[in-house]
């Protein structure tokens, strides 16, 4: 009789406990192509900001955008923070030091494979199954693919929020701003067509609403 009561109570408790994940998964793509590589130090600022905002059980990965971005090798650092706050703090410190090393040693890439990076981000976050999925792209959003790379495919952004950060204007954009606007519009359409939400944040001093 007693064990039945115990099992009943355990079942009740397990029924009460929430199965919906409350954690967040963040994938940050950092553009290292051409002149944008000089902006990497700014990316570090965003990474540290994200680290300070993320909680235990949240997942975070930082990956580089270069010629071929659809690869695990492009991931600079990744972590799923531990349930215990003290361990999570240690992980954050280790993460920050790896990012610091990347910033110090970053080299400019010849091409910009943003779509490949996005594919990798979708794959990573879908595997982690967080409650909220966020892809941050630190780039000028100008995609330049090397010969032989096929990226003309639809992307599934269902449940994702894609945020373009620090989208700088290129020299050509200054000549014709329509280029810049059409570039951002094209990305917005691509993300929203895939079922995601699109946002642009250019003022890095106003990151409060980011995570």
């Amino acid at each position: 009789m007693n064990w039945r009561l115990f099992v009943g109570a355990a079942l009740l408790l397990s029924a009460c406990s929430s199965t919906v994940p409350h954690n967040t998964g963040v994938y940050l793509l950092v553009d290292t192509s051409g002149s944008y590589n000089r902006q990497v130090s700014k990316a570090e600022q965003i990474i540290l900001f994200a680290l300070s905002r993320l909680q235990p059980l949240d997942s975070f990965a930082v990956a580089r955008i270069d010629t071929a971005s659809f690869s695990e090798k492009n991931i600079i650092a990744k972590a799923t923070f531990d349930d215990r706050p003290s361990t999570a703090n240690q992980q954050k410190r280790a993460f920050a030091s790896r990012v610091q090393k990347f910033v110090d040693e970053s080299k400019a890439a010849s091409y910009t494979d943003i779509t490949g990076g996005l594919l990798q981000a979708i794959e990573f976050l879908n595997e982690k199954k967080p409650g909220r999925k966020e892809i941050l792209i630190f780039s000028d959003m100008k995609e330049e693919l090397d010969k032989g790379y096929v990226r003309n495919m639809p992307l599934d952004f269902k449940g994702f929020e894609v945020v373009a950060l620090n989208v700088t204007k290129l020299r050509s954009d200054n000549f014709d701003p329509r280029e810049y606007l059409s570039r951002l519009e094209a990305w917005r359409v691509k993300v929203e067509k895939g079922g995601g939400r699109w946002r642009v944040v250019n003022d890095l001093d106003r990151l409060d609403g980011l995570l």
Binding site: S18, N89, R93
Partner: protein, 477 residues
């Protein structure tokens, strides 16, 4: 639409309206008696219903008041019994304490008195010897011998002076001894005075206690007799107890909240910081459970010490079992307090770790600096973590008072609500009766013309027989 068609029964709408009005009034006049009966029946039925409900509520209020009275008197009786019991226990303590030392005190007093008696006997003044030379001097002075008497007298004088000197020395010596003996009596007198003072104090204390018991017994008698004065005193004191205990429980709740803050963060290290049960974090629930267990242990401890009487089962336990229970609950409390102190320390460590991490992430070098006086806050947190569980133990006392006074307060509130409800129902019942009369009058209002005619006709019918009578009287001789 319907009205428009009604107004077209004649070519002239005004005439149609007039005809319709006359018809309506006629219909109303014909249905007047039945309508009045219907209005009267409805309003009377409703009024009776409300009056019945009012009686029922008033009866319920009386029953509740009687029950509340019983509860109050029982609580008052219980409280007075406890007070009298406590006073008797105090008297018993005082008597036991004094009576246990009574033989010793009696012996010391007797010894002191004997010593004083002996010393007093010794100190009695010895009367000086009567001078024997006076008659001899007189006889010699009367002798008729030449100069022979003078020599003898001179010798006698010499001997007398010598004897006087010796007597004076003896007297001084004896006086000195007597004074010494009297001085020796002083400590014994003091001892007697002190002992009797103590006895006086004990007796005064017993008398004082007995007066208090008398007062309590008088109150008890008034309660037993169920006098209104006792009831009103108990009722008002119950209200006071309710509000005071509520205030103290509020303070205890604030203490529990501080306690919760101290242990909620480090609990995340033990049970995880992101697990949820329902909408609450598991760490928060765990911290709350610890505090609740502490409060429960405090309740059991107070019950075992017989300070509170919320659980009759614990109060009815044998003394041996109670002592065991005191030991066990105190040990658990001590363990909990130690755990809390540890968790409070852990909280500070975690806080510093988090601050250091955040400083690193903000690239702020000043955040990583360690405050030299940090140990003070750490120690304060640990101290609070250790003391608060024991402080929460005392919440059992106001809790008991709150629970007991809550019954009375709820009863008083219930009486108030029922009384107000009964009044409202009674007012509604009476109001409906008057409303029926008013409705009848309003019904009659458009019928004033036929009613006036009816009254005139009735008056006309009533007059002829009277005239006939008068004419008959006139004809008669």
């Amino acid at each position: 639409m319907f009205m428009t068609s009604l107004l077209t029964i004649t070519p002239w709408p005004v005439l149609s309206a007039a005809i319709l009005l006359v018809l309506l009034i006629a219909a109303l006049y014909l249905a007047r008696h039945t309508a009045h009966q219907a209005i009267h029946a409805v309003t009377s039925a409703l009024a009776r219903g409300f009056r019945l409900a009012s009686h029922s509520v008033a009866h319920a209020e009386e029953r509740l008041a009687a029950r509340n009275r019983e509860v109050l008197l029982a609580a008052g009786r219980d409280a007075k019994e406890r007070m009298v019991e406590r006073e008797f226990a105090r008297i018993a303590d005082t008597t036991r304490k004094d009576l246990s030392s009574y033989p010793d005190m009696h012996r010391r007093l007797s010894e002191a008195i004997i010593r004083i008696e002996e010393d007093q006997e010794k100190a009695v003044e010895v009367p000086p010897e009567a001078p024997g030379w006076a008659k001899a001097v007189e006889v010699i002075a009367k002798l008729d011998a030449r100069n022979a008497g003078a020599e003898i007298l001179a010798d006698i004088h010499k001997s007398m002076v010598k004897a006087h000197a010796e007597a004076m020395v003896d007297y001084r010596k004896a006086s000195g001894e007597r004074h010494g003996l009297l001085r020796k009596m002083m400590p014994d007198w003091r001892l007697i005075q002190e002992t009797l003072g103590r006895v006086n104090k004990s007796v005064a204390s017993v008398i004082e206690r007995s007066l208090v018991i008398d007062r309590h017994m008088q109150d008890y008698e008034t309660i037993v007799h169920g006098e209104d004065r006792a009831l009103s005193v108990l009722s008002s004191s119950s209200l006071v107890h309710f509000f005071v205990s509520m205030l103290v429980l509020g303070v205890a709740t604030a203490g529990a909240a501080v306690n919760f803050t101290l242990i909620a963060r480090p609990m995340a290290e033990m049970v995880g910081g992101t697990n949820f049960i329902g909408v609450f974090r598991t760490a928060d629930i765990a911290a709350l459970v610890i505090i609740m267990v502490e409060i429960s242990m405090g309740l059991f401890l107070m019950e075992s010490l017989r300070i509170t009487r919320l659980f009759p089962v614990i109060g009815a336990l044998s003394d041996k079992m109670r002592v065991r229970m005191i030991g066990i609950t105190f040990a658990i409390l001590l363990l909990m307090a130690s755990i809390e102190a540890g968790l409070a320390y852990m909280r500070e460590v975690l806080l510093q770790d988090e601050l250091a991490t955040n400083a690193l992430l903000r690239s702020d070098s000043t955040g990583a600096l360690v405050n030299a006086h940090l140990w003070i806050t750490t120690m304060a947190q640990m101290g609070m973590g250790f003391i608060l569980p024991f402080a929460l133990v005392f919440a059992a006392i106001p809790l008991e008072t709150f629970v007991h006074s809550l019954r009375t307060v709820l009863g008083l509130m219930g009486i108030g609500v029922l009384r107000a409800l009964a009044l409202i129902l009674r007012v509604l019942g009476n109001g409906l009766r008057h409303l029926g009369t008013l409705a009848e009058r309003i019904y009659d209002l458009p019928l004033f013309v036929p009613l006036w005619i009816e009254a005139r006709l009735a008056a006309a019918h009533a007059l002829p027989p009277a005239i006939e009578d008068e004419s008959l009287q006139e004809v008669r001789p």
